[in-house]
């Protein structure tokens, strides 16, 4: 039980009257890579954004139920604290265009006004960029703007930015859907390395990707969590007919 990092209990999300995530119960362990898949509009992204309380930023968006992070309900915590504790990487790479690569990595500290000495910052930048497999490519151009990098590099920069805040959990919202195949494979390779230190939840509508990178897979359909099981089990012998239909491509 103490191995659990995130646990959702009867979690529901709404956009106004639209019930998007329906009564989800799920328990995720430390150092796991979880893929969340399902057709467009199934509520997988909304669920993900509920975990770090990004969902409620959209006007009219509400939620009920509990999301426990290390046993504590995030909805009882300060939203700003929750978001600082949980890393997030978005669909499109979104480095800050006004900041250099270096500043982008420590953006979580800079923008929050947390004072860090130059030496500590140097360490954080090198460590985070190394973890994000980007250090070798950018170490000579740290003071160029982040937006000069290629799409895949930008996405890894965003991962480094999330890592720099030393989160235990990192959420990925379709992190490769805006990237070309080569950048995608570099980001996917990174997931395997990050697993050692972090828990990853990856939303994807790409089934092959879910199969390639994850330990366990959650399948969402029409806002419900239909099935949550070992990835291998899920793709070879799903227990629910809807999962079966989805992975065999009978609907998308």
């Amino acid at each position: 039980m103490e191995n659990t990092i995130v646990k959702a209990e009867n979690y529901n999300s709404y956009f106004g009257d639209n019930h998007v995530v329906k009564d989800v119960n799920i328990s995720i362990n430390k150092h796991e890579v979880i893929a969340v898949m399902g057709p467009s509009g199934c509520g997988k992204t909304t669920f993900l954004r509920g975990i770090n309380r990004m969902h409620e930023l959209i006007p009219g968006a509400t939620s009920t139920g509990k999301i426990l992070l290390d046993g504590e309900n995030v909805y009882d915590m300060n939203a700003i604290y929750v978001r600082a504790k949980i890393g997030m990487v978005f669909q499109r790479p979104n480095p800050f265009p006004n900041l250099s690569i270096y500043e982008n990595v420590v953006a979580g500290y800079l923008l929050n006004g947390i004072k860090v000495s130059k030496a500590d910052k140097d360490v954080i930048v090198e460590k985070s960029l190394t973890s994000a497999a980007l250090w070798k490519e950018v170490k000579d151009s740290l003071h160029k703007k982040g937006t000069f990098l290629s799409g895949g590099q930008q996405q890894r920069l965003c991962i480094a930015r999330a890592i720099a805040m030393q989160p235990e959990l990192i959420l990925f919202d379709e992190p490769t859907s805006a990237l070309d195949p080569i950048s995608t494979s570099s980001v996917e390779a990174l997931f395997h390395e990050l697993k050692a230190n972090y828990t990853l939840i990856i939303v994807t509508h790409n089934m092959q990707q879910a199969a390639r990178v994850s330990d366990r897979t959650a399948f969402f359909y029409m806002g419900e969590l239909v099935e949550f099981d070992d990835t291998k089990q899920m793709f070879t012998n799903p227990s629910d007919q809807r999962t079966q239909n989805y992975i065999t491509g009978r609907f998308s």
Partner: protein, 281 residues
């Protein structure tokens, strides 16, 4: 068929010729105005012209230092008032476009933009000049600030609206509080656009005469006191150009030349800012 295509080509070319002609034509008045003012005014400008105060009637020479200082002081004061207020309102409008308050304040901005400048002058006269019992540079500055507001608000709003939401989300997901997201991410990323709006609004009001007629009024002395009447370039041009003295007409031409150069420089600065500082998204 062949003949028809020939006809079409001819029509296309005529059409192209017409739009090129008019595009060229609109530059002609500007060039003529520019050349004329340079011809009439540039010769008047010398050190004494820039540093001296107007000479009494009957004496030759004299300068426009009172108007230069006055325009500078009043535009600066107007900017100090209008820029923070305008930026705050612009941020609100871009952040909360669908609220009732946004609807009404947006409407007010549109109306304010259309209010004739002389009306702004009269209103400020009744608000400030009458109660205070004196014409003052402060009331002139307020009138100018009111003229600046819509431009600053709209440029801030439009610039910030163009920034992608993903930028804000990136900052919010790092646990950055809302006010810091706006001040440290959104505003810096839209800085070029906001700044060019500000310089444009300054270029716009520095040439305004009407709002100053009943507010700052004018003064023959170099002064930086906000509570006293103050001269300004456009007002000086107005009084000198309508006077019966040849010598004063020349001063008015010189002042026009200075004013025109100033507005031209501001516009060029604006163009450079938008090009150089534009942030690649």
């Amino acid at each position: 068929m062949e003949a028809r295509i020939g006809m079409r080509n001819i029509k296309s070319n005529i059409f192209k010729g017409i739009i090129v002609f008019f595009a060229f034509l609109i530059t002609v008045p500007l060039i003529i105005i520019l050349l004329y003012i340079i011809k009439q005014g540039a010769g008047q400008v010398n050190w004494k012209f820039l540093t001296g105060v107007p000479a009494p009637v009957g004496e030759t020479g004299g300068g426009i230092a009172n108007a230069l200082v006055g325009s500078f002081v009043m535009v600066l004061t107007a900017s100090i008032v209008a820029i923070p207020v305008g930026m705050a309102a612009g941020i609100y409008l871009s952040e909360n476009p669908r609220t009732k308050l946004a609807y009404y304040s947006s409407l007010c901005v549109d109306i304010l933009q259309g209010v004739p400048s002389i009306v702004v002058g009269i209103v400020v006269y009744f608000w400030l000049v009458k109660p205070l019992g004196t014409f003052s540079a402060l009331s002139g500055s307020i009138a100018l600030a009111i003229m600046m507001l819509p431009i600053v608000i709209r440029s801030t709003e439009q610039t910030l609206k163009l920034l992608p939401d993903s930028l804000k989300e990136a900052a919010l997901s790092l646990g950055v509080p809302y006010h810091r997201v706006i001040l440290k991410v959104t505003v810096p990323c839209g800085f070029a656009g906001i700044l060019s709006g500000i310089t444009l609004s300054i270029a716009r009001v520095i040439g305004e005469t009407a709002p100053l007629l009943f507010t700052a009024f004018g003064s023959p002395f170099v002064s930086a006191a906000l509570g006293k009447p103050m001269e300004s370039l456009p007002h000086l041009i107005f009084t000198y150009a309508t006077s019966p003295y040849e010598d004063w007409h020349n001063l008015a031409w010189g002042a026009s030349f200075i004013l025109l150069m100033f507005v031209l420089t501001l516009n060029i600065i604006t163009k450079v800012i938008t090009r150089k500082w534009k942030i690649q998204l």
